[in-house]
């Protein structure tokens, strides 16, 4: 049996070689299908990794508290404009009796505004935060200093610049001590951040940070926060702290029904889960489209195998006359179909991997994403298995047809 399998493979290979152009055209369908699957899975994985990396950049101990119910659809995005998070809430979360296990906490005020130095202007994110933000995010000024508790209390007009902002407004010169205008107010540059890219919700290179008190009082004239960043004491405490925050805020706002929350709490884990669900759903959708091309390819295989079986009726008769059983014939034609699709699968994996690599190259070099290429081994294995299965499924009917010719003489007489 084993010997026959090896011989069967050689025979099948010879059978395919005998019709090179026909065989290669037939497997093209499989090649395209498998390549599409590999590409989709690699891109899906890459996108997920990219987003997850940004989420992870925030640190696994970080908890976001946002105003308004978490938006469930586009119509609810205005929810996050709610003013439900104010100083009262910040003080409550700071209270160890209400929420134990909080290490650091910073309210965040966020607004896109025009920032100007001399004739250079730029519209960027202005982040109002407390002095603890840099420790929560673990980003420290490259030059100069960050503001401290004193500046928060004094409503000081000081600013720390992101890498790109500093470069665009000041070029290579040292910006420290210079004054920039945010809206109409002058802020003194006291620090510049190193190049960091994106960290979670912040595009660090393209933002400036000022004390939240100053931003609220002198620039925006508001008294609510866009986010409260909470750092828990250790990763293990995150879930519990998040729960305590929810409970505390509900108590504070007299909310009994969680679906009526006027705030939302997110952790790295919950965000990662959400990203996973979205990218998985997208990937599944695209995969089902690719699967259709595999089915079309499979039908092509079946068609060509049926032609082959008819063409080789005499060969089948002869093989039976010299002692081949129905099973031997079945296996021979099945092997041929599987070999055909497996070769298509292997080429498809190579093509798909090549295109994935190209995609990652373009996204990294041209678009500037931190897009990593990793050969999708699991997708490759899946591709090989799926393509072989396609051969098995679509080869079965022709192979059975070949084996079923009962009396060898009928097949031998076939013209």
């Amino acid at each position: 049996m084993n010997t026959y399998l090896i011989y069967g493979f050689k025979t099948a290979l010879n059978g395919l070689k005998a019709n090179k152009s026909r065989s290669s055209l037939t497997i093209l369908g499989i090649v395209i299908g498998i390549a599409a699957i590999i590409l989709i899975m690699a891109i899906g994985q890459g996108a997920q990794d990219l987003i997850l990396n940004q989420i992870r950049g925030l640190g696994s101990e970080t908890i976001f508290v946002g105003p308004g119910r978490e938006p469930q659809g586009p119509s609810e995005f205005t929810e996050i404009l709610s003013d439900s998070l104010k100083n009262k809430e910040v003080e409550a979360l700071k209270d160890p009796a209400m929420v134990p296990g909080v290490k650091r906490l910073s309210p965040i005020v966020l607004q896109v505004m025009t920032v100007a130095f001399e004739n250079e202007t730029k519209r960027i994110n202005v982040v109002g935060a407390s002095d603890l933000l840099m420790e929560i995010m673990e980003i420290y000024p490259e030059k100069g200093i960050f503001f401290g508790e004193e500046e928060i209390k004094q409503y000081s007009s000081v600013v720390v610049l992101g890498y790109e902002v500093k470069k665009e407004l000041f070029g290579d010169s040292d910006a420290l001590g210079e004054k920039i205008k945010i809206k109409d107010r002058n802020f003194k540059v006291i620090g510049a951040l190193p190049q960091k890219g994106r960290v979670g919700m912040f595009d660090v290179d393209n933002m400036v940070v000022v004390p939240y008190t100053t931003l609220q009082k002198y620039v925006l004239g508001t008294n609510f926060y866009n986010t409260i960043l909470v750092q828990a004491e250790g990763e293990a405490a995150v879930t519990r702290v998040a729960g305590d925050i929810e409970r505390t805020l509900r108590e504070l706002h007299n909310i009994d029904d969680p679906s009526k929350d006027d705030f939302h709490v997110m952790t790295q884990v919950s965000m990662a889960e959400r990203v996973g669900i979205v990218t998985d759903a997208l990937t599944a959708l695209l995969l089902s489209v690719a699967a259709i091309s595999l089915i079309v390819g499979g039908i092509g295989i079946m068609n060509i195998m049926l032609v082959s079986v008819t063409e080789r009726t005499r060969e089948i008769g002869l093989r039976k006359a010299v002692g081949a059983t129905e099973n031997d014939i079945l296996i021979q034609f099945l092997l041929e179909a599987v070999l055909l699709t497996a070769i298509g699968g292997i080429i498809g994996i190579a093509v798909g991997a090549g295109f994935s690599f190209l995609t990652s190259l373009i996204l990294t070099q041209v678009v500037g994403f931190g897009w990593g290429f990793s050969f999708p081994f699991s997708a490759a294995a899946a591709g090989l298995i799926v393509s072989s299965l396609v051969g098995l499924i679509f080869g079965l009917y022709p192979a059975r047809k070949a084996a079923a010719k009962k009396d060898p003489i009928e097949a031998l007489r076939y013209e």
Binding site: T3, Y4, I6, Y7, G8, T11, N14, A18, R314, E315, L318, R319, K320, A321, V322, G323, A324, T325, E326, D328, D407, P408, I409, L412
Partner: protein
């Protein structure tokens, strides 16, 4: 116990409700080592008989015993196994695989046997030597003459060392010189290797190689003579 024994063998074809009786009750037996020629005009049923004897076709009625066991009592797998190990078939139209070499054609039955792959080459080489084509074993069969192609077919029939070789007008497509070569090989196999040979022909010169001649007419045995 005779190698082959048939009793009241009948074969009827049914096409579009028209019954054609090809064999109408044959009874005879062939012993191991015999060289039998079956003769008769076309339509006398001799090819059909040979196909049934070679397990390539089935009788409609009557019994066929091979090595003492009724054909109907053999399973599908056993039939394939006997075709593989105990029977060799030589066809009028050679029936070689296209686009393949002499060696590949000759070893065709081996993968279906229990013989180890390491021995295939050697066994096929031996059979090719027997028919005198060792120098051509890597040639494609399409490059050979008709007589040489038929000798390749004989080597293929021979490679498993069968009890019996069935030859269906083996010289029918050959010129007389090639025909004589083929017949010389067959009678040598019968005399030296004691292979049973059952051959169909309507050429009396070819039939002369055999020790026994069975003549068929209209699906019945007309005469059965042993020299």
């Amino acid at each position: 116990m005779p190698l082959i024994e048939v009793k009241n063998l009948e074969k009827t074809y049914l096409t579009d409700d028209v019954k054609t009786e090809v064999l109408r009750g044959l009874t005879f037996s062939v012993a191991q080592g015999e060289f039998v020629a079956i003769m008769g005009p076309s339509g006398s049923g001799k090819s059909t008989l040979l196909h049934i004897l070679g397990f390539l076709d089935q009788a409609s009625a009557g019994d066929y015993f091979f090595e003492g066991k009724r054909m109907n009592d053999y399973s599908e797998t056993e039939l394939a196994r006997i075709r593989n190990t105990k029977m060799g078939f030589v066809f009028q139209s050679f029936n070689l695989l296209p686009r393949t070499t002499v060696l590949e054609n000759v070893r065709l039955p081996l993968p279906y046997s229990e013989i180890k792959e390491s021995l295939w080459e050697e066994l096929a080489g031996k059979a090719i030597k027997e028919i005198g084509l060792s120098h051509r074993s890597d040639y494609r069969t399409s490059q050979l003459s008709g007589g040489e192609q038929q000798r390749v077919a004989i080597a293929r029939a021979l490679v498993m060392g069968p009890e019996v070789i069935f030859a269906d007008e083996p010289t029918g497509n050959l010129d007389s010189k090639s025909g004589q070569q083929v017949m010389a090989i067959l009678s040598q196999l019968n005399q030296k290797r004691r292979h049973t040979i059952i051959l169909i022909t309507h050429d009396t010169e070819i039939a002369d190689y055999a020790q026994r001649i069975i003549r068929l007419r209209d699906g019945r045995i007309e005469s059965d003579k042993t020299k």
